[in-house]
Amino acid sequence: MIQKLILEDYGKFKGREFELGPFTVVYGPNEAGKTTLFDALFEAACAGAPRRGQVWGRLAARYGEGRKARASGDVQQFGDAVEFLELFSIRAGQISVDAEKGGSWAEAAKNSLYRHGYNPAEIAEKLEKRASTSNATRHQKNLNRLNSDLAGAREQIAQLRGQEAAVAGAREGLLRVEAELAALEVRKAGIEAELAAADGLLEGHKKVRALHQAARDRDFTAGVIQAENKLAELAAYKTEAVKEYDLLLEKIAEAGRGAAELGGTINAALDTIEKLETESCSLLESQRAARRASETAQKLLPEVSSISSFRHGLFAVLRLPPGLRYGIWAFGAAGAALGLYLARQTHLGYALTVFFAAAAFAFDRYLYRPKDSPADLAAERRRLETVYDQWVRRGFERAEIERPSVTEVMEAMMNFKSMAVSWDMAVENNRKDGLAARAAVKALEDKSIALAEERENCALAAQEWLMRAGCASRDEYLLKANQYKTLDGEAAKYAGRVQELLALESCSSTAALLALLDSRVKELEAAGVRARPDYERDIAAGESKVKELAAALQAEEAALTAKKIERENLTATFNKDLAKIPESLNIFRRKEYDLEQEIAADALARAGAELAAAVYREIEADSSRKFAGLAREVGAMLARVLPASDLQIGSLALESVTLKDAGGAMRALDQLSSGTRDCFMLAARLTLAAAARAAAPGLLLLDDPFSALDEGRRAAALDLLKYFRQETGWQLIIFTKDRALLAAVSKDPQAVCCSLEA
């Protein structure tokens, strides 16, 4: 118990001492120093607590670092300043504030209950997490990694074991392969012997075939020789040769045909000669008439011509070329131009220009375009009439020469003049044709005689050809020729085979071949080979057997090669060094063991954590029970102040605290009057403080705790405090500015009063 508080230099107090009793009331108005005294007591009680946190900062700011206060007596010590303020000091109206904040003193009480912030539920949770197999935890991740490493190591071990076993197993493999090789060699030898036997048998069959072949070839050769002889006999008769004979016959026929044709031609020529002679008479007559007309026209032409000349002016008279006409125009133009040129010098120029133009015009007009006058035309008509008259007089038709114009009349005259020449030519032609026709007839007759002679000669030659061929008729010859052809065809067919045989046997002739084949047949027969019909079948069977055996042999050899390769591989494996396999194996097996150990250690740690978590859960359950006991104690204490309160506490959270109001209704804490709340607070704080402090001596500072209580309740509360003090032996110090409270406390004989001046 703090008996005396000595403030050497503490805030407003300097060198002051305060005597304290087990139950002290400190009275003073505002600003009298109650809070300073409170702080000094707090500092004395928490002298051994760590000086951390804002509580201490606040004290230093308020009273300075040099503050000095000490307490005498058996001072109760508290190890935690915050806990002291929360649990061992009670201030006025605190309950209402705490109820709103969720109750910081209630939390402090809970912490105290579990001892300094250690909550078994939290620790159990931590341990349960450690024991959890969830992949989210660090431990499980580590365990997964270990398991994966273990699997990897085991894989490596299996692999290395396999390698070592392969090397070690190579010896058994080698022995096995050697045995297999020996067996294969034996089998191969058996097949080889079988093959040799089959080959011998096949050889015999082939000899029979050779005999057959030789005999067949011999017979064939003999046939060929026979055919060749016959062919030589008929060699003279050829189908082509009969064409000579046919040609002769053709010539005979042709000569006959030619003679007939010539006869016809001669007759036609004779007819032509006759016609030409008839024509000749009429032509001579016409020739005479024409000659007369011609003579007449010749006589009349100069006259007509003179009429015509008159009609064509100077141009016609002078026979000027037409181009001259353009010369005249050019001459006129040039003259005019010259005139114009000269006109610039003299007026004579203009006269010259006019002159040239007029001269050119006159030349053109009179030289080239004379204009006939009607008188001229009439004169012309008259002169023409005289000409017509003369013509008629000489015994010709007027119409023959009468034409509209002079020119046309002159043309008609010219026709008559030239007609006599045409008739002369016609008569001459007729004569020449007659001569030619007679000469042709003579030539045709000569040719006809020649043809008759040729025909005679050909007939004789044909007769002679047949006699020479030794045939009576052409058909006989053809028969023999066909026979030859057939034989020749056959020979051609055999020729290939014959050539082949000759080449094969290296013989130069068929005779030699025949002799050779014959000797071969005899040789084979002498060797005991007898012809047999089914030798081909035997050969086929023998060959297939040989083939089969050869294939078997080949397969056997392949198997042998494969085995030899296997032996080589096995030998190589066998000779291979183990190359640190045992060491690696050892390392991996150790690693496997280490991993297994590590995993087992983890499993043990996990199981340990589980067990520990279970223990903490048990402690948690015990704590809950302890709290229930506390709640009962609070209820009992509250009943001393509020007998009908019927407190019910669900948990340490203030929201779940309910009690009966004066009217008997159950209400939550924050719905009760402040006086009732203060009563509850006092009961709860006293209980929790006692529970937190356990058996150690305690100190409780109360700062105006009953300001909200009426007189009756205050008396009850003071009774409660008295009861608490008697039960626990705690030192209680009440700070108040309420004189009534001072008076109430003063009634207690053990109470010590301490008044502070304002």
Binding site: Y118, L127, E164, I581, E583, R590, D594
Partner: protein, 371 residues
């Protein structure tokens, strides 16, 4: 009929263990005599190093011990990897006088092994080699029908044993296929200090385990293997425990957060080793403590208490104990330990590791860390 004893890895040395090693050898010879053995096979690592082998006093002591071996018994010895430690290129084991001990192989040549033949069996002795993979090139006579072939080798083989043996990697690895290749019926193997046997490649490959406790974690009684060969057949095997070798014993002692040890746990430990004269003891603390210094104090006390029982060697390990402030005062920790203690299985039962793990996990979670 042949009687054979197969032992290995005596690791005789000139250090503090000298007498201990010779005592084990003496017991082994005594067993060979009592069993009327015809062959005592020593599968390598008889000496701890070449330096120990060179020590005249030790070699003389060995020769002297072997004088006690019955006349009809042949002691066949092959060197192991430890005989190679400190051996120069020119050093030859055959230059040393081993007395009754027959050196069956000198490690100088590639094989260099010898064979010992009897009407019933032939013993093929292979010297230790760093690499055994050339075994197919070894010139060995074919196995005689009707005879059992016993292979004497020193090396690792993970098909037989693959545990965490620190020594394992220091010797050659015997290929799995070797046993079948050499047509062995029984492979008397040395090098691995834990006893194991496996049928591999037609051979029964046996690590008899080290004849003495040479190192930590070599748990279980030390032993040699006894078997008989009758008519070319290997008879059933029998373990001959070497009492003089003592045992390696390991205990886990749970420590409370305030570094105290439950008296019951301590008593249980002391009850477990009533006469640990030959034993090699390792006690390991387990748990979380408030104060590392207090733990060191407790460690000293425990060493003194167990040391009073006079074990051959004692180690108290506290490496695994973590220190964590606030736990001793923590009522929740106290509650946890109380509740857990209520579930504590009997010492040495299969549930013990789980219980220790839970204790460790529970305290670690409370201390804020997580295992």
């Amino acid at each position: 009929m042949l009687r054979v004893i197969h032992a290995s890895d005596l690791h005789l040395n000139t250090g503090a263990d000298k007498q201990y090693g010779l005592e084990v050898l003496r017991e082994l010879i005594g067993l060979a005599n009592s069993r009327q053995a015809d062959f005592l096979l020593l599968a390598g690592d008889l000496f701890d190093s070449f330096r120990d082998l060179k020590d005249n006093a030790l070699l003389a002591a060995v020769r002297l011990e072997l004088q006690a071996l019955r006349k009809d018994c042949r002691a066949l010895y092959i060197p192991g990897n430890h005989e190679d430690l400190g051996r120069g290129h020119k050093d030859k084991l055959s230059n040393f006088n081993f007395g009754r001990l027959e050196l069956m192989a000198d490690a100088a040549s590639s094989f260099g092994g010898k064979t010992a033949e009897t009407p019933d069996a032939e013993f093929v002795c292979v010297p230790h080699a760093a690499d055994y993979s050339g075994y197919r090139g070894w010139k060995l006579p074919a196995k005689t029908p009707g005879r059992a072939r016993v292979l004497l080798m020193h090396g690792a083989n993970s098909a037989v044993y693959r545990g965490p043996d620190q020594e394992e990697q220091l010797a050659g690895v015997i290929p799995d296929s070797l046993f079948a290749w050499l047509e062995a019926d029984y492979a008397a193997l040395g090098h691995v200090h834990a006893a194991r046997e496996t049928l591999i490649g037609g051979a029964l490959a046996v690590y008899c385990g080290s004849a003495r406790v040479w190192r930590k974690w070599e748990e279980g009684p030390r032993k040699a293997v006894y078997f008989e060969i009758d008519g070319g057949k290997i008879g059933p095997r029998q373990d001959l425990t070497l009492g003089s070798a003592g045992e390696f014993r390991f205990f886990t002692l749970p420590v409370n957060p305030d570094s105290s040890i439950a008296p019951a746990a301590m008593q249980a430990l002391l009850d477990k080793c009533p006469a640990p004269y030959k034993d090699y003891l390792v006690v390991k603390f387990s748990g979380l403590v408030e104060d590392a210094n207090a733990l060191a104090e407790v460690k000293k006390v425990v060493e003194t208490v167990i040391g009073a029982k006079n074990p051959r060697r004692l180690e108290v390990l506290s490496d695994d104990v973590e220190s964590c402030g606030g736990l001793a005062e923590n009522a929740l920790a106290r509650q946890f330990l109380e509740k857990l203690d209520a579930r504590r299985p009997p010492e040495g039962s299969p549930g013990m590791p789980l219980w220790l793990a839970a204790r460790r996990q529970g305290l670690a979670a409370l201390a804020g860390g997580q295992d």
